[in-house]
């Protein structure tokens, strides 16, 4: 059985599915990073993904263009992010509650919206046709390399975008003045305000970007991954993204690595559950066990680092 297991995971298609499964988590996790850096907790990622996913399908169906669908999902994501911002920053509700409200709309409101717009119940099966799904790209040269080519070529446009965004977001946060302002606001908003930065504006921008990224994650889910929208399709990815952001220490690269870890765990679950003689209940635990083990390892390494830092500080004081 073990050999059978090794055979399964040592194949190019396993690596391919890790990347595919990671992408939507990564979009949302990057959204969580940007919001968190500005000191805003966007717990509504799950709901934003679900609603954007629905609108992605609807826009692409109405215009028969996948690109308009993706852009529509992005805009809806931005609007929902700003909506959370409006409630939390302007009307001073608790931002966690605002996020939960969006998540609930994502669960129940979407079904209503779908019925209102199309008369369909529960899913968009009949709306989707091949030409309005996000296209895939074969990378010239690389695709002919054995194993590597099979696993990293042939993904959707959005999959590549997710990984490119890791570096764009890192550049945004660390190389631009907007990023500097975002980090300043998140760390000490009074200090930022005292030098004339509009804290409110920066927070709106950050949560807007966060919503845009979650919106792309939603579009990825309905217009590529599941090839259509159905209720419950996001299945906790928005929350896993928050875990990935925490585990990645709210840094873009770290968050990409932790998202890949979750992608790996999900892919492993899919593969192992196909094997004979393994309890499917046990297998479905894999991603969650990974989450817990990952967070424990993260906590241990942080504690050690803090300890070491303090020791060097204490030595410096004595010296």
């Amino acid at each position: 059985m073990f050999e059978q297991f090794l055979d399964t995971i040592l194949k190019a298609d396993f690596l391919f599915s890790i990347i595919r499964i990671t992408a939507p988590i990564l979009f949302a996790a990057l959204g969580a990073v940007v919001a968190e850096k500005a000191g805003v907790v966007n717990i509504g990622l799950e709901g934003i993904m679900s609603i954007s996913a629905l609108f992605g399908v609807l826009f692409s169906y109405w215009t028969q263009s996948w690109l308009v669908g993706v852009l529509g999902a992005l805009v809806v994501g931005v609007l929902l992010g700003l909506l959370i911002g409006f409630f939390a920053l302007k009307l001073k509700t608790d931002i966690i509650l605002a996020g939960i409200a969006v998540n609930m709309i994502g669960g129940g409101g979407t079904i209503f919206l779908l019925y209102m717009f199309t008369g369909m119940r529960g899913n968009t099966g009949a709306l989707v046709s091949q030409n309005i799904l996000i296209p895939t790209i074969n990378i010239p040269l690389i695709k002919s390399i054995p194993i590597l080519g099979e696993s990293i070529s042939g993904h959707s446009v959005l999959t590549y975008l997710a990984f490119i965004l890791v570096f764009l977001i890192a550049g945004l946060l660390y190389k631009t003045s907007l990023g500097l302002n975002i980090r300043a606001v998140g760390e000490n908003d009074q200090a930022a305000q005292s030098v004339g930065i509009s804290v409110l504006r920066i927070k709106y921008i950050a949560i807007g970007i966060s919503g845009a990224l979650a919106g792309l994650g939603g579009a990825f889910m309905s217009m590529y991954y599941s090839q259509g929208w159905n209720s419950g399709m996001i299945a906790g990815r928005g929350f896993i993204a928050l875990a990935a952001q925490a585990m990645g220490r709210t840094e873009p690269i770290g968050t990409m690595l932790s998202s890949l870890l979750f992608g790996f765990a999900q892919a492993l679950r899919t593969k192992v559950s196909g094997l004979q003689g393994v309890s499917s209940y046990l297998v479905s635990l894999i991603p969650y066990v990974f989450t817990i083990v990952g967070l424990v390892l993260y906590a241990i390494s942080t504690t050690k680092k803090v300890h070491k830092y303090r020791q060097t500080q204490a030595e410096a004081v004595e010296a």
């Binding site: 980090r183 930022a192 930065i197």
Partner: protein
Amino acid sequence: MENDNFIIQMKGISKVYPNGIAANRNVDFFVKEGEIHALMGENGAGKSTLMKILFGLEQPTEGEIIINGEEVSLTSPSDAISRGIGMVHQHFMLIPSLTVAENIVLGMAPIKKGILIDYKKAVQITEEVSQKYNLNVNPNAKVMDIPVGMKQKVEILKALVRGANILILDEPTAVLTTQETSELFKELIILKQLGYTIIFISHKLNEIKQITDRLTIMRGGKSMGVYETASTSEQEISRLMVGRDVILNVEKDKSQPTETVLKVRNLEYTNKWNKKMLDFLSFSVRQGEILGIAGVEGNGQRELVEMLFNLNTPDSGTITVNGVNIINLPQDKIRDNRVSLIPEDRMTYGIADAASIEENVISDRYTEKHFNNGPLFDMKMIHKESDKLIKNYAILCKSRKQQVKMLSGGNIQKVVVARELSSDPILIIADQPTRGIDVGSTEFIRNKLVHLSRAGAAVLLVSADLNEVMELSDSLIVLYGGKVVAYFDDTSALDDTVMGEYMLGLKHQSPEEIERVCHE
């Protein structure tokens, strides 16, 4: 009025907060160009509010502000900055994870290629301004890694880079060492010579005398007038600040110590960074005396107090109160043994800041029978108790229902003191009991401690304020490196130069002399 000489004119400023508290009442505040002007007053006198208004952080309810002869409305710090006003806050407004250069250009970062930050340019700006004003900072260091004195320089540079020609410094020396303070004063003099106007908020008389040209004194939200520093005496200033002549010396008769209450023997503690903080520490405190602990901060005082109230556990040694071992005893049981603590960090250990005065003062006694009616509180009794304490301890507040965090520093400390001293303690641990509070409250608290010790309580006073510890204590020990290095059974003849030598570890007494503090 002839006002071309005034760079700032704040006329008839009033500020009433939505909760009804009037922080400023018809205040006039005029500052001349190129002077160092002190703004003085006790905690809660309204200095900070007035400065927040000048920096655009608060809007006045009434009054007008004229800067450089032009009437202005300052609705945000950016408005104030654009008028040439810069503020160095008491709690630094810096981003710890960013570098010095990034902090200095924050909100106005130089840009290259359209969107990217030009970090080299930021470093260059920092170096230029740092040289120009002779304020040395390391542009590439992260703010979290630099010492407090340098953080303050960064704050001053931040204001100067933004074109400030009026600097507001809010109690700038509160966080500085003596050496850093004299360095700061030199820098401020240079800035004054360059034509900058400086507003210096403080309640330290000697500093004000040393550096300022004129001073405005505030009391109870009102201005008590403007004075030339050179021609105003310290007694005059303190009279204007508190409205009566402050008795700087506490009046107390000679102590007559009786039974030993607190016995600390061979206490040892090594902290988690492997530094020995308490090294075979032994001493006793007797009924009827105030034993002071002097020492430069960081020589084991904090650890000792933590051990005395079971906030930390020693590696070895014993602590007994009237024969009862209190190591590892829960705090309520320690209190059952009639021990009280006035903690150093009053906002964390002394009070619950969002709770009312009433809730805070009964927090150690709400389980007592006479405050309860079966499962419910007897609110009548509780109101009676809290009103009594508010009156006896002269807590300045609107009512017993007021949130403690709305009070001034001195009144917050009075809430702590009211609770701790009214529980009939046999041992009072007073850790920095008057730090950062106004003269009036300080005097009140000191007198209370003397009064209780004469009535039979044992008082252990820990204070970084050498005057306080020397004036208030009957006998005194000096801590250095976690050890008692000197014991004086009579403080009246002590001289602060000698104290300094013990505190800095230049001298220590013989073991026999030190052992006398155990009274065995």
